[in-house]
Symmetry: C2
Subunit: 221 residues, 2 copies
DNA sequence: ACCTGAACACCGTTCAAGT
DNA sequence: ACCTGAACACCGTTCAAGT
């Protein structure tokens, strides 16, 4: 519980936990999650890979710290609208979560693969559940709504970042979809909806889904 | 376009595309996605790893075929309720998608990491968009709804399988969450909602979120 | 035509040994 | 106390060579 910390006896450390997450997030932005390896991260920090394990016991633990860092300040950024309605405050919070995930390359993938219990994540959960409880929803409905909003937002952002990642060369995914849908006559409905299907305005799409959820909540109140 | 197929000259092949996906899905169920390597799969098929590349150019292509296989028959399983209302038919379809992902260990992770354009996936999309278009929704709203329902379902099932996977030892995740929420007094709302938060009835949670979306759609019609 | 064998360029993680 | 060096047990993918 106090290996790389407190007194400061012996040699000063060249790296620490905070510098490691920061460098990892930088590397993530530059190269993407698949290229974020312990060896490359160590390289970027001028150290051998084994040295990282003095600060994070596993790569998974580092990824969790990265998620937590990404969520730092998300809740704070979504207040100030304290006089707004519960539905507006809920929507602001959801948009703030999406924005935080979009702020880093593969942010949604990193977040989806971890389960932080730090103040970033729990503060967000507290704020969202608080808004709904104070609006009159039951404890259960508030908890279920948290999961619904979070799962939708993460699922949506996962797709968005997969579709727009530089890794997945250009417009290849959309082109394959268009070809599959337009060749043959098996998908009449998809053909009619093709333009909305293949020119995905992600902002609009997210706002649409979030509005569905909010309207559903209003109907339940 | 015809390397491992058609005539049948030379030695008969010991493996093929269909057997490869089937064995891969079996291995997935037994060992999980992280243990599904090309070498282990080759072992299970009594062949060297390099041999697999005659049938699937990359592991990603194999994973896409696995996704497509998982989706085979999903749409068919969700009809028969042809006289039901559009909202019932939509819900049935969403439940069928979730069921298909839950049917395989790490099914949601496999599905989320691929973008099949086969009949399984596109047939599902066609059915969902068809239900909404015929119910009177615009082409755009039908397309946006497809993404919303799919993203919510995949996001939800991703969380569900992460929480229930044998890999993530027992109840560790829930215990950590409970400890973090109950220690200190930073999360009054989460404490009130703790039972619903930590004893997640996933069936109920999914039905709740889906109902929110459906109610939101009804309000929009 | 189909598969083997062996290699290439990597991984995450551990740990004795140096300073 | 902190980090290096080197190893362990793997990866995905390629490709000449055998049959």
């Amino acid at each position: 519980m106090s290996s790389p910390s407190t007194p400061a006896r012996g040699r000063p450390s060249r790296i620490d936990r905070a510098l490691t997450v920061r460098t990892a997030l930088d590397l993530l932005d530059r190269s993407g999650l698949d290229a974020l390896t312990m060896r490359r991260l160590a390289d970027a920090m001028g150290v051998q890979a084994g040295a990282l394990y003095r600060y994070y016991a596993t790569k998974q633990e580092l990824l969790t710290a990265m998620s937590e860092q990404m969520m730092e300040g998300v809740t704070a950024s979504a207040v100030g609208t304290d006089d707004a309605s519960w539905s507006e405050r809920l929507a602001t919070l959801a948009h703030a979560l999406r924005k935080a995930l979009l702020a880093r390359r593969d942010g949604a993938r990193v977040f989806a693969g971890t389960h932080s219990t730090g103040v970033g994540v729990l503060g967000f959960a507290e704020a969202l559940v608080g808004i709904l409880r104070e609006a009159g929803f039951s404890d259960d409905d508030a908890a279920l709504s948290l999961y619904t909003v979070a799962n939708f937002t993460v699922g949506h952002t996962l797709e968005e970042q997969a579709a727009t990642d530089p890794e997945n060369g250009g417009t290849t995914g959309v082109e394959k979809l268009r070809n599959a849908v337009t060749s043959g006559s098996d998908y009449p409905h998809l053909n009619r909806a093709l333009s909305a299907l293949t020119s995905p305005d992600f902002d609009r799409n997210f706002a649409f889904g979030l509005d569905l959820l909010v309207e559903g909540l209003k109907a339940r109140l």
